[in-house]
Amino acid sequence: MLAKTSGQRPALDDRSWVRGLLILSALAFLLLFLVLPLVSVFVEAFRRGVGAYWDALIEPDALSAIHLTLIVAAIAVPLNLVFGVAASWCISKFDFRGKGLLITLIDLPFSVSPVISGIIYVLLFGLHGVVGPFLKSQGIQIIFAVPGLVLATIFVTFPFVARELIPLMQEQGTEEEEAALVLGASGWQTFWRVTLPNIKWGLMYGVLLCNARAMGEFGAVSVVSGHIRGETNTMPLHVEILYNEYNFVAAFSVASVLAMLALVTLVAKTALEWRFGAELAATRH
């Protein structure tokens, strides 16, 4: 069979051989770098059984970390949703001076190391920072407290919604909005009835990504957190502390919750694409 095809159509045979190799290497890569680590997280988490796993999660410090992570995400994600929509609306529907600069600025958090993002806030709001002493005299603490965590998370996750929406809105152009205005709609009516429905799937996608990053952010948050157990530790920070204390089961248990959040995000994204694929395609063209 092989001899026969290679004799008749060597080129095609070559190609299918190469194709097989490529597929195999891609699968091997996936297995090695994605599936194995993910599985090992769960294997390690359940190494001492379900009881130990559960205990690690309901321990007060872990609960506080989960709680804090949810709070930070609950503040950062809606704010970034509003910022993201506003920024992409400005950039894609209006022409103004400094537009290129604004686009670059929006991308900044992607190009700057998260650690630097954290340090910026320490330099600004820390005790020896620019406005830190003034805030301290007013009794407001930002660094080593929840506001700092929220600020750092907002900064790091800022581009997700805007990056998702800008190309989409630029492609859709402004004609539908113009049509709505001529038909007698107000600015708000145009936004709610025309603009928002056209971007809702892209927006949801951006929010999902933003949320995943907000919950999983480590670098920037680590700098501003101060690692106060039960107070300023988010889940990723808590995992690190537990791991450094050789408390592997607890570390992987908390890590598994984060991993599940990521999986839920992926499933939600896939479900969105599957359920509304046709509509997604329609709003993109």
Binding site: A179, L181, V182, G184, Q189, P197
Partner: protein, 346 residues
């Protein structure tokens, strides 16, 4: 007067899109703004709709100054070249949009909106498609939905920006006949923009020819075609032979006197003459000054190219006439031109 444009000027950076434009649109007429791209025709239309602002001048809609009004206050219908239908709404909801966004006090009840929308969909022959989405319609159908949507708000004037520009040739022709008929039925004052001279000449009551932000000529289709007011209009409308000549005593001499043509207007000296291909007569003549260099037959018409003292002229006639003359490539011929318009050479 439905629309009165006076002294409208619009500048985009260093580029002057409109330069002191004056125009009157009569009630109930179908007016074409015709010009090449960059002539300012779309800018003028968008200023009428309020989608673009004017730098100076005045615009009156039915006697009311409108430049200060927002698009929603002007009550104009606007049809976009690429339809601009709301892609996430059904055909019904698209047409109903303008009725649904009215302030509560002026809004019709649900059943009245439905009645009006269905009436409009009947008008554009799309009642069966009320539940479809725009993506499921053909280009011609989409543009009819866009038209119904624009008419739903009972506009005082209807503005159409290259309404057939995105359609293929056959649909374009059908749709423009249909639009002409619709206009004859409902008589709404309409202005449409086009770069297609055939479309403007066939469809419009009056044609406005624009170039470089200025109006070159306003007139009936026959008027602008038969009596172009400027060299630009001559070259832009229809096929034309253009050649340098010297005019003295009402006679234009072409190619050192190889051809002498009577002229109509009092231009003297160095000039450019324009002759339509169907105003150029040919007859076989062994000692004639011209030589047939090519014959192209397109459907029922024939285009004959003639070399005359270094110039290439084009004549147009029907095929019967051509076979009657018996001209073939390489034959010598005489060239008769009854009339030519000449414009001073700049």
């Amino acid at each position: 007067m439905a629309i009165q444009v006076s002294g409208i000027t619009k500048q985009f950076g260093h580029y002057r899109a409109l330069d002191q434009v004056d125009l009157e649109v009569r009630s109930g007429e179908l007016l074409a703004l015709l010009g090449p791209s960059g002539s300012g025709k779309t800018t003028l239309l968008r200023i009428m709709a309020g989608l673009e602002s004017a730098d100076s001048g005045s615009l009156q809609l039915h006697g009311e100054e409108a430049l200060g009004l927002s698009p929603r206050e002007r009550q104009v219908g606007f049809v976009f070249q690429h339809y601009a239908l709301f892609r996430h709404m059904t055909v019904f909801d698209n047409v109903a949009f303008g009725l649904k966004v009215r302030p509560r006090a002026q809004r019709f009840g649900r059943s009245e909106i439905k009645r009006r929308v269905m009436e409009l969909l009947e008008l554009v022959q799309l009642a069966h498609f009320a539940d479809r989405y725009p993506a499921q319609l053909s280009g011609g159908q989409r543009q009819r939905v866009a038209l119904a949507r624009a008419l739903a708000i009972e506009p005082k004037v209807l503005l159409l920006d290259e309404p057939f520009g995105a359609l293929d040739a056959k649909v374009r022709k059908e749709l423009r006949r249909w639009l002409r008929k619709l206009h004859d039925d409902i008589h709404i004052t309409s202005v449409f923009v086009t770069h297609d001279q055939e479309e403007a000449l066939e469809l419009a009551d009056r044609v406005v020819v624009m170039s470089q932000g200025r109006i070159e000529q306003v007139g009936s289709p026959a008027d602008v075609y038969d009596h172009p007011a400027s060299a630009f209009v001559y070259e832009f409308l229809g096929q034309v032979n253009r050649f340098d000549c010297t005019v003295a005593d009402g006679v234009a001499r072409v190619a050192n006197g190889a051809l002498a043509i009577p002229t109509e207007n009092g231009v003297q000296g160095e000039a450019i003459a324009y002759v339509r291909p169907h105003d150029l007569g040919l007859s076989p003549s062994a000692g004639g000054p011209g030589r047939v260099s090519g014959i192209h037959v397109v459907g029922p018409d024939a285009r004959v190219e003639v070399d005359l003292a270094g110039l290439t002229l084009e004549a147009e006639m029907d095929r019967e006439r051509l076979s009657f003359l018996g001209l073939r490539p390489g034959d010598r011929c005489a060239v008769h031109i009854d009339r030519a318009r000449v414009f001073p050479r700049r």
